[in-house]
């Protein structure tokens, strides 16, 4: 029986583990090794350069531009997206006209709003990025056409072509793509908070803003924290890469205004043939990710409330 059990365990684990080891674990480990070499990626020759790549990072202006933009996205994108998500979810759940029995209630048609808001979540990043690229187009885009239509002929920004605006334009598209998911997520969380809590608070004279900060937010905190980490990783990694790569004017935007770390890793490897240096950039991205996760976890250490 015991013998059979271990054979079964090994049999079930061997294929998934092998695939995972070959395509995920081993590349990660190799990447850290390569970051200490001068590997080009074009030929198999390489030699160890110690911390040479990391020293070079300190003098690389584009790298620091990418760090600045990635960190800006990391700090703002989760806060903006989650705040909007919480705001709309709260409106959906307590904005209703008072009914006979309940002190608070959802707005009419909240199910329809949620279906609509979730649309961007099922679309791929290229679809969203291209849609916004058209909207931002200075000559024929929807935004500038709208400004013209309401008489603001003088306000015709270059949007993605303007170094001052480009990163905000990309962030706008990312917020648009993600808010709906959090409205639905937080709304599900809010509807499971017992109505008595609100009832008691309102009877004690609290207004609705108070109930949000004193009841809703603390009780949702676990979900908010999960969302925060998720949005942070999204701002640093795959999603930021795709948005910037597709939307930006030229590589990394005007004057590197939208250069972000994952895109720089990609460019250094596949455009410049500096795979060793690229992995060093990748390792610094890993460090930023780990610091961020650690901070959010620490911020979130509070008592769990069971209800």
């Amino acid at each position: 029986m015991q013998h059979g059990k271990y054979r079964f365990i090994a049999g079930f684990l061997v294929v998934p583990l092998a695939i995972y080891a070959v395509f995920v674990i081993s590349p990660f480990v190799q990447a850290i090794y390569y970051s200490f070499t001068d590997w080009t990626g074009l030929s198999p020759d390489m030699k160890m350069v110690g911390f040479g790549n990391y020293v070079r990072l300190f003098q690389d202006d584009v790298f620091w531009a990418a760090v600045g933009n990635s960190v800006t996205l990391l700090l703002l994108l989760p806060v903006v997206t989650l705040s909007l998500g919480l705001f709309f979810a709260f409106m959906l759940n307590v904005g209703g006209r008072r009914r006979k029995k309940a002190v608070i209630g959802g707005v009419r048609g909240s199910a329809a709003y949620k279906i609509l808001y979730f649309f961007p979540q099922v679309l791929s990043v290229p679809i969203v990025a291209l849609l916004f690229q058209f909207a931002y187009n200075p000559e024929s885009g929807a935004l500038n056409a709208f400004f013209k239509a309401i008489g603001l002929d003088a306000v015709q920004p270059d949007w993605l072509g303007d170094p001052q605006l480009a990163l905000w334009c990309v962030m706008g598209a990312m917020v648009w793509a993600n808010v709906g998911f959090y409205v639905v997520l937080f709304s599900a969380g809010m509807s499971s908070i017992p109505k008595d809590f609100y009832e008691a608070a309102l009877l004690d004279g609290a207004d609705r803003l108070n109930t949000f900060f004193r009841i809703t937010l603390p009780l949702l905190w676990d979900t908010v924290q999960t969302g925060w980490i998720y949005m942070g990783i999204l701002a640093l990694d795959v999603s930021a890469f795709a948005f910037v790569q597709i939307m930006s004017v030229g590589p990394g935007g005007p004057d590197y205004a939208t250069e972000v770390l994952p895109l720089y890793v990609y460019q250094k490897t596949f455009r410049d043939g500096q795979a060793g240096y690229a992995t060093a950039i990748g390792v610094s991205l890993l460090i930023v990710t780990l610091i961020f996760s650690a901070i959010v976890m620490r911020l979130g250490r509070r008592e769990r409330l069971e209800f």
Partner: protein
């Protein structure tokens, strides 16, 4: 051996409606006016965001029926005639049909692989005690928090050496590998919640571990499998980074996401904006239609991970 106990209630991921009625009577009568003002305000902001979400999508669909001069001349206007030829051009000449098929092949293979291998690994890790269990669990789950781009540089060369670049089966393997962390994490949690007695009864009746898994445990885990299956389907269908790095050699083998971006670049040169909008709409509508049909399941599947 029957598996009638369908533990749908165990998912805990159903989104409840907020109209739960409270038993007690409220007595805050003097606040009567506040609710009305708030109600108008709520609907106001909710409608504004609703418009912000739908306008770009509608705009793309409407533009896909226009000709190029209309797209430039009146971006907000309605098309003078319905130019279905844009759609035909995008589907045939711009290869959107081919890209659609490519995505179907790869995602079909990778989804089956992910579900099978992910549930096997998760089951063993969730239900069996053996040395190294915890280590393997964290090895799988740890993959969720690392920047994928870092692994992609060496991965490109690993794939190149194994001659897996620009192949369907290569992409399928990579999609499976990068979907395993979340799948194992989610299904492990799910298998732990299932009762042990049914599996024990099956074993006593003489079923092997393998048979118990496929004929007893998997049917019981159906709600969890559906959630994570939808999550993986959308993630893999919308995957952009992996094919952008690992599938660039053969233009005919592009995934739909890649093809769309390539289309944007090439049609931009040709000035065929109407064809591009048609391509965008072709890529967008099937997913939106599927979402509207399976709305409840999709929402449950995508929010499942974050609610746990």
């Amino acid at each position: 051996m029957s598996a009638q106990t369908d533990p749908a209630e165990l998912t805990g991921v159903t989104t409840r409606e907020p109209h739960g009625s409270s038993a007690r009577q409220p007595r805050a009568g003097k606040r009567g006016g506040e609710g009305g003002v708030l109600n108008v305000f709520s609907h106001g902001v909710l409608v504004i965001w609703g418009l912000l979400v739908t306008m770009p999508l509608l705009w793309a669909v409407v533009s896909s029926f226009k000709d190029d001069s209309e797209i430039f001349g009146s971006p907000w206007g309605l098309p003078s005639a319905l130019h279905f030829d844009n759609w035909v051009r995008a589907w045939d000449k711009a290869n959107m049909g081919q890209y659609f098929l490519n995505s179907l092949i790869v995602v079909g293979g990778s989804l089956i692989g992910t579900m099978l291998l992910g549930s096997m690994a998760a089951y063993v890790l969730a239900r069996f005690d053996f040395p190294g269990n915890r280590f393997l669990y964290f090895l799988f789950v740890g993959g969720m928090g690392f920047p994928v781009i870092l692994a992609l540089v060496p991965l490109f060369f690993v794939m190149k050496n194994m001659t897996l670049l620009d192949t369907y089966h290569g992409l399928i393997l990579v999609y499976i590998a990068y979907s395993l962390p979340f799948t194992v994490f989610f299904l492990c949690g799910f298998f732990r919640t299932l009762p042990t007695s049914v599996a024990e009864a099956a074993l006593i009746d003489g079923a092997s571990h393998t048979r118990t898994f496929f004929q007893v445990m998997l049917p019981m885990a159906k709600p969890g499998l559906i959630s994570v299956g939808i999550f993986n389907f959308l993630g893999q269908w919308n995957q952009y980074l992996l094919p952008t790095v690992l599938n660039v050699g053969d233009p005919d083998k592009k995934m739909l996401t890649q093809g769309l971006v390539a289309l944007a670049v090439s049609q931009g040169y040709k000035g065929d904006w109407s064809g591009l909008f048609a391509g965008l709409t072709i890529a967008m509508l099937p997913v939106l239609a599927a979402y509207i049909i399976f709305q409840r399941q999709v929402v449950a599947g995508l929010t499942a991970g974050a609610l746990k």
